[in-house]
Protein backbone atom coordinates (compact mmCIF):
# COMPACT_ATOMS: atom_id res chain seq x y z
CA UNK A 1 0.00 0.00 0.00
CA UNK A 2 1.32 3.43 -0.87
CA UNK A 3 2.46 5.60 1.97
CA UNK A 4 -0.47 7.64 3.34
CA UNK A 5 0.12 11.27 4.04
CA UNK A 6 -0.95 12.21 7.53
CA UNK A 7 -2.05 15.57 8.87
CA UNK A 8 -1.66 17.53 12.05
CA UNK A 9 -3.83 20.31 13.43
CA UNK A 10 -3.06 22.67 16.26
CA UNK A 11 -5.68 22.97 19.03
CA UNK A 12 -6.34 26.56 17.93
CA UNK A 13 -7.09 25.47 14.37
CA UNK A 14 -9.43 22.73 15.54
CA UNK A 15 -11.18 25.11 17.93
CA UNK A 16 -11.78 27.52 15.09
CA UNK A 17 -13.05 24.80 12.74
CA UNK A 18 -15.21 23.37 15.51
CA UNK A 19 -16.88 26.63 16.46
CA UNK A 20 -17.40 27.91 12.92
CA UNK A 21 -18.38 24.53 11.48
CA UNK A 22 -20.91 23.65 14.15
CA UNK A 23 -22.51 27.09 14.53
CA UNK A 24 -22.76 27.72 10.79
CA UNK A 25 -23.94 24.16 10.22
CA UNK A 26 -26.74 24.40 12.79
CA UNK A 27 -27.94 27.74 11.41
CA UNK A 28 -27.72 26.40 7.86
CA UNK A 29 -29.83 23.39 8.84
CA UNK A 30 -32.54 25.44 10.50
CA UNK A 31 -32.39 28.19 7.85
CA UNK A 32 -32.75 25.81 4.90
CA UNK A 33 -35.52 23.90 6.68
CA UNK A 34 -37.45 27.12 7.28
CA UNK A 35 -36.81 28.51 3.78
CA UNK A 36 -37.95 25.37 1.98
CA UNK A 37 -40.69 24.57 4.47
CA UNK A 38 -39.47 20.97 4.73
CA UNK A 39 -37.30 19.00 7.15
CA UNK A 40 -35.13 17.58 4.38
CA UNK A 41 -32.02 19.53 5.33
CA UNK A 42 -31.91 18.22 8.88
CA UNK A 43 -29.03 15.93 7.95
CA UNK A 44 -26.71 18.97 7.74
CA UNK A 45 -27.00 19.20 11.52
CA UNK A 46 -25.18 15.90 11.89
CA UNK A 47 -22.44 17.08 9.54
CA UNK A 48 -22.08 20.17 11.72
CA UNK A 49 -21.72 17.83 14.68
CA UNK A 50 -18.69 16.24 12.99
CA UNK A 51 -16.77 19.51 13.30
CA UNK A 52 -17.59 19.65 16.98
CA UNK A 53 -16.54 16.00 17.35
CA UNK A 54 -13.18 16.78 15.78
CA UNK A 55 -12.70 19.66 18.19
CA UNK A 56 -13.85 17.71 21.25
CA UNK A 57 -11.94 14.52 20.46
CA UNK A 58 -8.74 16.54 20.24
CA UNK A 59 -9.52 18.24 23.57
CA UNK A 60 -10.02 14.85 25.26
CA UNK A 61 -6.85 13.63 23.60
CA UNK A 62 -4.88 16.55 25.01
CA UNK A 63 -6.19 16.23 28.58
CA UNK A 64 -5.85 12.48 28.68
CA UNK A 65 -2.30 12.41 27.31
CA UNK A 66 -1.35 13.35 30.85
CA UNK A 67 -1.72 9.72 31.82
CA UNK A 68 -5.44 9.44 32.54
CA UNK A 69 -5.64 5.79 31.44
CA UNK A 70 -9.04 4.77 32.76
CA UNK A 71 -10.09 8.41 32.97
CA UNK A 72 -10.56 8.75 29.22
CA UNK A 73 -14.19 7.57 29.17
CA UNK A 74 -14.81 9.49 32.39
CA UNK A 75 -13.66 12.73 30.76
CA UNK A 76 -15.90 12.06 27.78
CA UNK A 77 -18.92 11.33 29.95
CA UNK A 78 -18.23 14.44 32.04
CA UNK A 79 -18.21 16.60 28.90
CA UNK A 80 -21.37 14.94 27.55
CA UNK A 81 -23.12 15.46 30.86
CA UNK A 82 -22.19 19.13 30.86
CA UNK A 83 -23.35 19.29 27.25
CA UNK A 84 -26.81 17.87 28.01
CA UNK A 85 -27.37 20.45 30.74
CA UNK A 86 -25.88 23.36 28.79
CA UNK A 87 -27.94 22.63 25.67
CA UNK A 88 -31.25 22.75 27.56
CA UNK A 89 -30.20 25.77 29.58
CA UNK A 90 -29.08 27.80 26.56
CA UNK A 91 -32.17 27.02 24.50
CA UNK A 92 -34.49 27.68 27.42
CA UNK A 93 -32.85 31.02 28.19
CA UNK A 94 -33.05 32.05 24.55
CA UNK A 95 -36.72 31.00 24.44
CA UNK A 96 -37.58 32.97 27.57
CA UNK A 97 -36.03 36.15 26.17
CA UNK A 98 -37.81 35.60 22.87
CA UNK A 99 -34.57 35.26 20.88
CA UNK A 100 -34.69 31.61 19.86
CA UNK A 101 -32.36 32.23 16.95
CA UNK A 102 -29.58 33.18 19.39
CA UNK A 103 -29.92 29.90 21.32
CA UNK A 104 -26.81 28.39 19.74
CA UNK A 105 -24.56 31.30 20.70
CA UNK A 106 -25.90 31.48 24.26
CA UNK A 107 -25.47 27.72 24.64
CA UNK A 108 -21.90 27.88 23.33
CA UNK A 109 -20.88 30.66 25.70
CA UNK A 110 -22.60 29.05 28.67
CA UNK A 111 -20.97 25.66 27.94
CA UNK A 112 -17.53 27.22 27.69
CA UNK A 113 -17.96 28.95 31.06
CA UNK A 114 -19.38 25.74 32.57
CA UNK A 115 -16.40 23.75 31.31
CA UNK A 116 -13.94 26.31 32.59
CA UNK A 117 -15.49 26.31 36.07
CA UNK A 118 -15.44 22.50 36.24
CA UNK A 119 -11.83 22.56 35.02
CA UNK A 120 -10.87 25.00 37.77
CA UNK A 121 -12.67 22.79 40.33
CA UNK A 122 -10.79 19.72 39.05
CA UNK A 123 -7.41 21.41 39.30
CA UNK A 124 -7.79 23.58 42.36
CA UNK A 125 -10.20 21.61 44.55
CA UNK A 126 -9.61 18.00 43.48
CA UNK A 127 -5.90 18.66 42.85
CA UNK A 128 -5.63 16.99 39.46
CA UNK A 129 -2.84 19.42 38.60
CA UNK A 130 -3.08 18.88 34.87
CA UNK A 131 -1.74 22.05 33.22
CA UNK A 132 -4.29 22.25 30.41
CA UNK A 133 -7.28 21.00 32.41
CA UNK A 134 -9.18 24.31 32.30
CA UNK A 135 -8.54 24.85 28.62
CA UNK A 136 -9.23 21.22 27.76
CA UNK A 137 -12.51 21.04 29.65
CA UNK A 138 -13.63 24.38 28.21
CA UNK A 139 -13.01 22.94 24.75
CA UNK A 140 -14.50 19.57 25.63
CA UNK A 141 -17.68 20.93 27.19
CA UNK A 142 -18.26 23.47 24.43
CA UNK A 143 -17.58 20.92 21.68
CA UNK A 144 -19.81 18.32 23.26
CA UNK A 145 -22.60 20.82 23.76
CA UNK A 146 -22.44 21.88 20.14
CA UNK A 147 -22.43 18.25 19.02
CA UNK A 148 -25.45 17.44 21.21
CA UNK A 149 -27.25 20.52 19.94
CA UNK A 150 -26.44 19.65 16.33
CA UNK A 151 -27.69 16.06 16.70
CA UNK A 152 -30.78 17.33 18.51
CA UNK A 153 -31.47 19.67 15.61
CA UNK A 154 -31.14 16.70 13.24
CA UNK A 155 -33.78 14.83 15.22
CA UNK A 156 -36.23 17.70 15.72
CA UNK A 157 -35.51 19.72 12.58
CA UNK A 158 -35.76 23.00 14.46
CA UNK A 159 -34.01 25.03 17.11
CA UNK A 160 -37.00 25.80 19.28
CA UNK A 161 -36.79 24.77 22.92
CA UNK A 162 -40.22 23.17 22.96
CA UNK A 163 -39.61 21.12 19.83
CA UNK A 164 -36.28 19.81 21.10
CA UNK A 165 -37.74 18.94 24.50
CA UNK A 166 -40.66 17.13 22.87
CA UNK A 167 -38.66 15.30 20.19
CA UNK A 168 -35.35 14.60 21.88
CA UNK A 169 -35.74 14.69 25.65
CA UNK A 170 -39.25 13.32 26.16
CA UNK A 171 -38.87 10.51 23.63
CA UNK A 172 -35.68 9.36 25.33
CA UNK A 173 -33.56 9.79 22.20
CA UNK A 174 -31.27 11.86 24.38
CA UNK A 175 -30.07 8.54 25.82
CA UNK A 176 -28.55 7.65 22.46
CA UNK A 177 -27.17 11.14 21.83
CA UNK A 178 -25.69 11.13 25.31
CA UNK A 179 -23.90 7.83 25.05
CA UNK A 180 -23.05 7.81 21.34
CA UNK A 181 -22.02 11.46 21.49
CA UNK A 182 -19.81 10.69 24.45
CA UNK A 183 -18.35 7.77 22.51
CA UNK A 184 -17.59 9.99 19.51
CA UNK A 185 -15.55 12.21 21.82
CA UNK A 186 -13.68 9.70 23.96
CA UNK A 187 -13.63 6.50 21.90
CA UNK A 188 -11.03 7.87 19.45
CA UNK A 189 -8.39 8.48 22.09
CA UNK A 190 -9.43 5.49 24.18
CA UNK A 191 -9.23 3.14 21.21
CA UNK A 192 -5.88 4.51 20.09
CA UNK A 193 -4.30 4.73 23.51
CA UNK A 194 -0.64 3.80 23.54
CA UNK A 195 2.81 5.25 23.06
CA UNK A 196 2.51 5.37 19.26
CA UNK A 197 -0.81 7.19 19.14
CA UNK A 198 -1.05 9.66 16.24
CA UNK A 199 -3.33 12.68 16.03
CA UNK A 200 -4.56 12.03 12.51
CA UNK A 201 -5.52 8.41 13.25
CA UNK A 202 -7.32 9.41 16.45
CA UNK A 203 -9.28 12.20 14.78
CA UNK A 204 -10.27 10.03 11.82
CA UNK A 205 -11.54 7.45 14.30
CA UNK A 206 -13.63 10.24 15.85
CA UNK A 207 -15.11 11.11 12.46
CA UNK A 208 -15.89 7.44 11.92
CA UNK A 209 -17.84 7.27 15.20
CA UNK A 210 -19.46 10.59 14.23
CA UNK A 211 -20.74 8.87 11.08
CA UNK A 212 -22.05 6.01 13.19
CA UNK A 213 -23.80 8.53 15.45
CA UNK A 214 -25.35 10.09 12.35
CA UNK A 215 -26.86 6.71 11.40
CA UNK A 216 -28.26 6.35 14.93
CA UNK A 217 -29.66 9.87 14.95
CA UNK A 218 -31.17 9.24 11.50
CA UNK A 219 -32.99 6.20 12.84
CA UNK A 220 -34.35 8.32 15.71
CA UNK A 221 -35.63 10.93 13.28
CA UNK A 222 -37.74 8.29 11.51
CA UNK A 223 -40.35 8.94 14.22
CA UNK A 224 -39.96 12.69 14.54
CA UNK A 225 -39.36 13.84 10.95
CA UNK A 226 -40.78 11.12 8.74
CA UNK A 227 -39.27 8.75 6.21
CA UNK A 228 -37.61 10.99 3.60
CA UNK A 229 -35.51 13.30 5.83
CA UNK A 230 -34.57 10.39 8.08
CA UNK A 231 -33.45 8.19 5.19
CA UNK A 232 -31.35 11.05 3.87
CA UNK A 233 -29.60 11.31 7.24
CA UNK A 234 -29.07 7.55 7.43
CA UNK A 235 -27.68 7.27 3.89
CA UNK A 236 -25.35 10.26 4.25
CA UNK A 237 -24.31 8.96 7.67
CA UNK A 238 -23.50 5.56 6.22
CA UNK A 239 -21.42 7.14 3.45
CA UNK A 240 -19.47 9.23 5.99
CA UNK A 241 -18.97 6.23 8.25
CA UNK A 242 -17.75 4.03 5.38
CA UNK A 243 -15.37 6.67 4.02
CA UNK A 244 -13.74 7.33 7.38
CA UNK A 245 -13.66 3.65 8.39
CA UNK A 246 -11.64 2.81 5.28
CA UNK A 247 -9.43 5.82 5.87
CA UNK A 248 -8.95 4.75 9.50
CA UNK A 249 -8.01 1.23 8.45
CA UNK A 250 -5.42 2.58 6.02
CA UNK A 251 -3.95 4.80 8.74
CA UNK A 252 -3.80 1.78 11.03
CA UNK A 253 -1.96 -0.15 8.35
CA UNK A 254 0.45 2.75 8.03
CA UNK A 255 1.19 2.92 11.75
CA UNK A 256 1.12 -0.74 12.84
CA UNK A 257 4.28 -2.79 13.28
CA UNK A 258 2.79 -5.26 10.80
CA UNK A 259 -0.63 -6.21 9.51
CA UNK A 260 -0.71 -9.92 8.75
CA UNK A 261 -3.48 -12.18 7.52
CA UNK A 262 -2.55 -14.82 10.05
CA UNK A 263 0.59 -16.08 11.73
CA UNK A 264 2.43 -16.80 14.93
CA UNK A 265 3.88 -14.21 17.26
CA UNK A 266 6.62 -11.92 15.95
CA UNK A 267 9.94 -13.86 15.74
CA UNK A 268 11.41 -11.73 18.53
CA UNK A 269 8.67 -12.82 20.95
CA UNK A 270 8.43 -16.54 20.33
Amino acid sequence: MDQLKGFTFTPQQLRMYGIIGSVVGIYLTVGLNVLTGTKLFSFIGSIAALFAVLWGANAIRRICSYGLGTGVPAMGMLCTGMGCVAAVFGLNLAGRFGIEWAGVIITLIYAAIFGYVVGVLCNKVMKFNIPIMEEGLTDGAAACTMAILAWSVTISGSLSYNAIIADVYNTGFLALIFILGGMALFHPFNANLGPDEKQDRTLIDGMMVGGLAMIGVGICSLVTLGLAPAMLTIVVGFAIWYYFYIWYFRLTTRDAAAVVGTGLLPPSAL
Binding site: G69, I179, G194, A258
Partner: protein, 301 residues
Protein backbone atom coordinates in the same frame (compact mmCIF):
# COMPACT_ATOMS: atom_id res chain seq x y z
CA UNK B 1 -50.45 -8.16 42.44
CA UNK B 2 -51.66 -10.66 39.88
CA UNK B 3 -50.31 -13.96 38.61
CA UNK B 4 -49.65 -12.53 35.13
CA UNK B 5 -47.54 -9.70 36.53
CA UNK B 6 -45.57 -12.09 38.69
CA UNK B 7 -44.98 -14.35 35.68
CA UNK B 8 -43.66 -11.37 33.75
CA UNK B 9 -41.31 -10.50 36.60
CA UNK B 10 -40.03 -14.08 36.61
CA UNK B 11 -39.52 -13.91 32.83
CA UNK B 12 -37.60 -10.65 33.24
CA UNK B 13 -35.39 -12.29 35.83
CA UNK B 14 -34.69 -15.15 33.44
CA UNK B 15 -33.92 -12.75 30.58
CA UNK B 16 -31.61 -10.77 32.84
CA UNK B 17 -29.75 -13.94 33.81
CA UNK B 18 -29.10 -14.78 30.16
CA UNK B 19 -28.13 -11.16 29.44
CA UNK B 20 -25.68 -11.07 32.32
CA UNK B 21 -23.98 -14.28 31.24
CA UNK B 22 -23.64 -13.21 27.61
CA UNK B 23 -22.45 -9.75 28.63
CA UNK B 24 -19.62 -11.17 30.66
CA UNK B 25 -18.55 -13.61 27.95
CA UNK B 26 -18.69 -10.81 25.35
CA UNK B 27 -16.34 -8.69 27.43
CA UNK B 28 -14.06 -11.67 28.05
CA UNK B 29 -13.77 -12.52 24.37
CA UNK B 30 -12.76 -8.95 23.67
CA UNK B 31 -10.61 -8.62 26.82
CA UNK B 32 -12.54 -5.51 27.78
CA UNK B 33 -12.56 -3.70 31.09
CA UNK B 34 -10.68 -5.29 34.01
CA UNK B 35 -8.51 -7.80 32.05
CA UNK B 36 -7.82 -5.21 29.37
CA UNK B 37 -5.15 -3.42 31.35
CA UNK B 38 -3.07 -6.61 31.46
CA UNK B 39 -3.61 -7.35 27.78
CA UNK B 40 -2.55 -3.78 27.03
CA UNK B 41 0.49 -4.05 29.29
CA UNK B 42 1.59 -7.42 27.95
CA UNK B 43 3.06 -6.05 24.73
CA UNK B 44 4.72 -3.22 26.60
CA UNK B 45 6.66 -5.61 28.84
CA UNK B 46 7.83 -7.63 25.86
CA UNK B 47 4.97 -10.10 25.45
CA UNK B 48 3.20 -9.46 22.14
CA UNK B 49 0.14 -11.68 21.93
CA UNK B 50 -2.73 -12.92 19.79
CA UNK B 51 -5.50 -11.80 22.12
CA UNK B 52 -8.28 -9.40 21.12
CA UNK B 53 -7.98 -5.90 22.60
CA UNK B 54 -11.50 -4.45 22.60
CA UNK B 55 -11.08 -1.17 24.40
CA UNK B 56 -14.51 0.43 24.03
CA UNK B 57 -14.59 2.55 27.15
CA UNK B 58 -15.38 0.60 30.30
CA UNK B 59 -18.11 -1.99 30.29
CA UNK B 60 -20.85 0.26 31.72
CA UNK B 61 -20.68 2.93 28.98
CA UNK B 62 -20.24 0.42 26.18
CA UNK B 63 -23.15 -1.75 27.29
CA UNK B 64 -25.22 1.37 27.82
CA UNK B 65 -24.50 2.16 24.17
CA UNK B 66 -25.55 -1.27 22.87
CA UNK B 67 -28.72 -1.32 24.97
CA UNK B 68 -29.65 2.29 24.17
CA UNK B 69 -29.07 1.64 20.45
CA UNK B 70 -31.23 -1.47 20.53
CA UNK B 71 -33.90 0.40 22.46
CA UNK B 72 -34.10 3.39 20.11
CA UNK B 73 -34.51 1.05 17.14
CA UNK B 74 -37.22 -0.86 19.00
CA UNK B 75 -38.87 2.40 20.08
CA UNK B 76 -38.87 3.75 16.53
CA UNK B 77 -40.40 0.55 15.14
CA UNK B 78 -43.01 0.29 17.90
CA UNK B 79 -44.04 3.96 18.09
CA UNK B 80 -43.49 5.01 14.51
CA UNK B 81 -44.38 1.89 12.53
CA UNK B 82 -46.55 -0.08 14.99
CA UNK B 83 -44.45 -3.20 14.61
CA UNK B 84 -44.88 -6.21 16.93
CA UNK B 85 -42.87 -5.83 20.14
CA UNK B 86 -40.74 -8.93 19.61
CA UNK B 87 -39.85 -8.08 16.02
CA UNK B 88 -38.85 -4.54 17.05
CA UNK B 89 -36.64 -5.96 19.78
CA UNK B 90 -34.91 -8.32 17.35
CA UNK B 91 -34.28 -5.48 14.88
CA UNK B 92 -32.89 -3.30 17.67
CA UNK B 93 -30.53 -5.99 18.91
CA UNK B 94 -29.25 -6.53 15.35
CA UNK B 95 -28.42 -2.83 14.99
CA UNK B 96 -26.64 -2.84 18.34
CA UNK B 97 -24.55 -5.84 17.26
CA UNK B 98 -23.52 -4.05 14.06
CA UNK B 99 -22.51 -0.94 16.00
CA UNK B 100 -20.54 -3.16 18.35
CA UNK B 101 -18.68 -4.77 15.46
CA UNK B 102 -17.55 -1.37 14.20
CA UNK B 103 -16.42 -0.15 17.60
CA UNK B 104 -14.70 -3.43 18.50
CA UNK B 105 -12.66 -3.64 15.31
CA UNK B 106 -11.68 0.03 15.48
CA UNK B 107 -10.47 -0.48 19.05
CA UNK B 108 -8.45 -3.58 18.13
CA UNK B 109 -6.83 -1.84 15.16
CA UNK B 110 -6.16 1.34 17.11
CA UNK B 111 -4.73 -0.21 20.26
CA UNK B 112 -2.47 -2.58 18.33
CA UNK B 113 -1.24 0.14 15.98
CA UNK B 114 -0.43 2.39 18.94
CA UNK B 115 1.92 -0.30 20.24
CA UNK B 116 3.99 -0.66 17.12
CA UNK B 117 7.26 0.08 18.93
CA UNK B 118 6.64 -3.05 21.03
CA UNK B 119 6.17 -5.11 17.86
CA UNK B 120 2.48 -5.84 18.47
CA UNK B 121 1.16 -7.07 15.13
CA UNK B 122 -2.39 -6.77 13.85
CA UNK B 123 -3.72 -10.22 12.94
CA UNK B 124 -6.61 -10.02 10.50
CA UNK B 125 -7.71 -13.60 11.13
CA UNK B 126 -8.36 -12.66 14.76
CA UNK B 127 -10.58 -9.82 13.59
CA UNK B 128 -12.42 -12.16 11.22
CA UNK B 129 -13.26 -14.95 13.62
CA UNK B 130 -13.43 -13.16 16.97
CA UNK B 131 -15.51 -10.12 16.03
CA UNK B 132 -18.60 -12.14 14.97
CA UNK B 133 -18.45 -13.98 18.27
CA UNK B 134 -18.36 -10.70 20.19
CA UNK B 135 -21.23 -9.36 18.09
CA UNK B 136 -23.30 -12.48 18.71
CA UNK B 137 -22.96 -12.10 22.46
CA UNK B 138 -23.80 -8.40 22.25
CA UNK B 139 -26.88 -9.36 20.25
CA UNK B 140 -28.05 -11.66 23.04
CA UNK B 141 -27.32 -9.06 25.73
CA UNK B 142 -29.07 -6.19 24.01
CA UNK B 143 -31.99 -8.40 22.95
CA UNK B 144 -32.63 -9.48 26.53
CA UNK B 145 -32.21 -6.00 27.99
CA UNK B 146 -34.44 -4.41 25.34
CA UNK B 147 -37.07 -7.05 25.98
CA UNK B 148 -36.90 -6.27 29.72
CA UNK B 149 -37.40 -2.56 28.94
CA UNK B 150 -40.26 -3.34 26.54
CA UNK B 151 -41.98 -5.53 29.15
CA UNK B 152 -41.57 -2.79 31.78
CA UNK B 153 -43.03 -0.07 29.58
CA UNK B 154 -45.64 -1.81 27.42
CA UNK B 155 -46.73 -4.99 29.20
CA UNK B 156 -46.19 -4.89 32.96
CA UNK B 157 -48.75 -2.87 34.92
CA UNK B 158 -48.31 -0.21 36.12
CA UNK B 159 -46.42 0.82 32.96
CA UNK B 160 -43.04 2.35 33.58
CA UNK B 161 -43.25 6.13 32.93
CA UNK B 162 -39.83 6.42 31.22
CA UNK B 163 -39.39 5.84 27.48
CA UNK B 164 -37.56 2.59 26.69
CA UNK B 165 -34.28 4.17 25.45
CA UNK B 166 -33.72 5.72 28.89
CA UNK B 167 -34.53 2.43 30.65
CA UNK B 168 -32.20 0.64 28.22
CA UNK B 169 -29.42 3.09 29.04
CA UNK B 170 -29.86 2.56 32.78
CA UNK B 171 -30.04 -1.24 32.53
CA UNK B 172 -27.03 -1.14 30.20
CA UNK B 173 -24.94 0.76 32.73
CA UNK B 174 -26.13 -1.64 35.43
CA UNK B 175 -25.32 -4.80 33.50
CA UNK B 176 -21.90 -3.41 32.54
CA UNK B 177 -21.10 -2.51 36.11
CA UNK B 178 -22.14 -5.96 37.35
CA UNK B 179 -20.17 -7.73 34.60
CA UNK B 180 -17.14 -5.60 35.34
CA UNK B 181 -17.17 -6.32 39.06
CA UNK B 182 -18.39 -9.94 39.11
CA UNK B 183 -17.35 -11.89 36.05
CA UNK B 184 -14.25 -10.13 34.84
CA UNK B 185 -12.26 -11.09 37.91
CA UNK B 186 -12.47 -14.68 36.74
CA UNK B 187 -10.67 -13.79 33.53
CA UNK B 188 -8.44 -10.93 34.70
CA UNK B 189 -7.38 -12.46 38.02
CA UNK B 190 -7.31 -16.18 37.17
CA UNK B 191 -7.28 -17.01 33.47
CA UNK B 192 -4.58 -14.54 32.52
CA UNK B 193 -2.38 -15.77 35.37
CA UNK B 194 -3.10 -19.48 35.31
CA UNK B 195 0.54 -20.32 35.80
CA UNK B 196 0.39 -18.93 39.34
CA UNK B 197 -1.15 -20.74 42.30
CA UNK B 198 -4.92 -20.35 42.44
CA UNK B 199 -6.15 -17.48 44.61
CA UNK B 200 -2.84 -15.71 44.80
CA UNK B 201 -4.16 -12.42 43.53
CA UNK B 202 -2.23 -10.18 41.20
CA UNK B 203 1.20 -9.07 42.27
CA UNK B 204 2.49 -5.86 40.65
CA UNK B 205 5.59 -7.77 39.60
CA UNK B 206 3.42 -9.96 37.37
CA UNK B 207 1.82 -7.08 35.45
CA UNK B 208 1.65 -7.91 31.78
CA UNK B 209 3.01 -11.46 32.25
CA UNK B 210 -0.20 -13.00 30.92
CA UNK B 211 -0.60 -16.50 29.53
CA UNK B 212 -0.07 -16.27 25.77
CA UNK B 213 0.36 -19.93 24.87
CA UNK B 214 -2.39 -22.50 24.99
CA UNK B 215 -2.40 -26.29 25.43
CA UNK B 216 -1.66 -26.45 21.73
CA UNK B 217 -0.52 -23.38 19.82
CA UNK B 218 -1.12 -19.83 20.88
CA UNK B 219 -3.97 -18.82 23.14
CA UNK B 220 -6.72 -16.78 21.54
CA UNK B 221 -9.77 -15.00 22.84
CA UNK B 222 -12.19 -17.82 22.01
CA UNK B 223 -10.26 -20.04 24.47
CA UNK B 224 -10.95 -17.42 27.11
CA UNK B 225 -14.67 -17.52 26.36
CA UNK B 226 -14.62 -21.30 26.84
CA UNK B 227 -13.03 -20.84 30.26
CA UNK B 228 -15.17 -17.91 31.40
CA UNK B 229 -18.46 -19.49 30.31
CA UNK B 230 -17.97 -22.06 33.09
CA UNK B 231 -18.01 -19.73 36.07
CA UNK B 232 -17.57 -16.00 35.45
CA UNK B 233 -20.44 -15.74 32.95
CA UNK B 234 -23.06 -17.61 35.01
CA UNK B 235 -22.04 -15.65 38.13
CA UNK B 236 -22.61 -12.36 36.32
CA UNK B 237 -25.93 -13.69 35.04
CA UNK B 238 -26.97 -14.59 38.56
CA UNK B 239 -25.97 -11.13 39.79
CA UNK B 240 -27.89 -9.25 37.13
CA UNK B 241 -30.83 -11.65 37.21
CA UNK B 242 -31.23 -11.19 40.96
CA UNK B 243 -30.97 -7.42 40.59
CA UNK B 244 -33.72 -7.26 37.98
CA UNK B 245 -35.93 -9.85 39.68
CA UNK B 246 -35.70 -8.48 43.22
CA UNK B 247 -36.13 -4.90 42.07
CA UNK B 248 -39.24 -5.62 40.01
CA UNK B 249 -40.65 -8.14 42.49
CA UNK B 250 -41.02 -5.54 45.23
CA UNK B 251 -42.81 -3.05 42.96
CA UNK B 252 -45.11 -5.77 41.61
CA UNK B 253 -46.10 -7.16 45.01
CA UNK B 254 -46.52 -3.68 46.49
CA UNK B 255 -48.18 -1.02 44.41
CA UNK B 256 -45.50 1.66 43.85
CA UNK B 257 -48.04 4.48 44.17
CA UNK B 258 -50.25 3.53 47.09
CA UNK B 259 -47.84 1.22 48.94
CA UNK B 260 -44.56 3.00 48.20
CA UNK B 261 -43.19 2.80 51.80
CA UNK B 262 -43.56 -1.00 51.77
CA UNK B 263 -41.72 -1.27 48.44
CA UNK B 264 -38.89 0.90 49.73
CA UNK B 265 -38.70 -1.05 53.01
CA UNK B 266 -38.56 -4.30 51.02
CA UNK B 267 -35.61 -2.91 49.04
CA UNK B 268 -33.78 -2.01 52.24
CA UNK B 269 -34.42 -5.51 53.60
CA UNK B 270 -32.95 -7.02 50.40
CA UNK B 271 -29.81 -4.91 50.76
CA UNK B 272 -29.38 -5.89 54.44
CA UNK B 273 -29.96 -9.59 53.65
CA UNK B 274 -27.39 -9.57 50.86
CA UNK B 275 -24.81 -7.85 53.01
CA UNK B 276 -25.30 -10.36 55.81
CA UNK B 277 -24.96 -13.23 53.32
CA UNK B 278 -21.79 -11.67 51.88
CA UNK B 279 -20.29 -11.46 55.33
CA UNK B 280 -21.17 -15.10 56.01
CA UNK B 281 -19.63 -16.16 52.67
CA UNK B 282 -16.39 -14.34 53.38
CA UNK B 283 -16.04 -15.70 56.91
CA UNK B 284 -16.83 -19.27 55.85
CA UNK B 285 -14.36 -19.06 52.89
CA UNK B 286 -11.61 -17.82 55.17
CA UNK B 287 -12.32 -20.62 57.64
CA UNK B 288 -12.38 -23.33 54.99
CA UNK B 289 -9.40 -22.33 52.87
CA UNK B 290 -7.26 -20.44 55.36
CA UNK B 291 -4.55 -18.00 54.32
CA UNK B 292 -2.78 -18.35 50.97
CA UNK B 293 0.04 -20.96 51.32
CA UNK B 294 2.73 -18.56 50.16
CA UNK B 295 1.65 -15.89 52.65
CA UNK B 296 4.58 -14.81 54.79
CA UNK B 297 2.96 -12.07 56.79
CA UNK B 298 2.32 -8.46 55.83
CA UNK B 299 5.26 -6.69 54.25
CA UNK B 300 5.98 -3.30 55.76
CA UNK B 301 5.40 -0.61 53.14
Amino acid sequence: MDAFGMGLVAAMGALATVAGASEDIDSDIGSQSNPNSQVQLAAQVGNPHRIYNKAIAGEPPSNALWCATACIMAYVLIEGFHMPLLFATVAGASLAALFDGVMATSAYFGRSASQSRFNQWIYLDIVRYTTPSIMAHVWITSFCVTLIAVIQVYVLTPHHPFPIPVIGLIWGITIGAIGSSVGDIHYGGEREFQWRLFGQGLNTMLSGQIVRKAEAGLRNSIDNAWFCAKFGGPCTGLGFGLTVFCDNWRTTVFDPVTQAPYAIAMGVIFVILMNVYNLYMEISARKKYGPYPGYKGDIAA
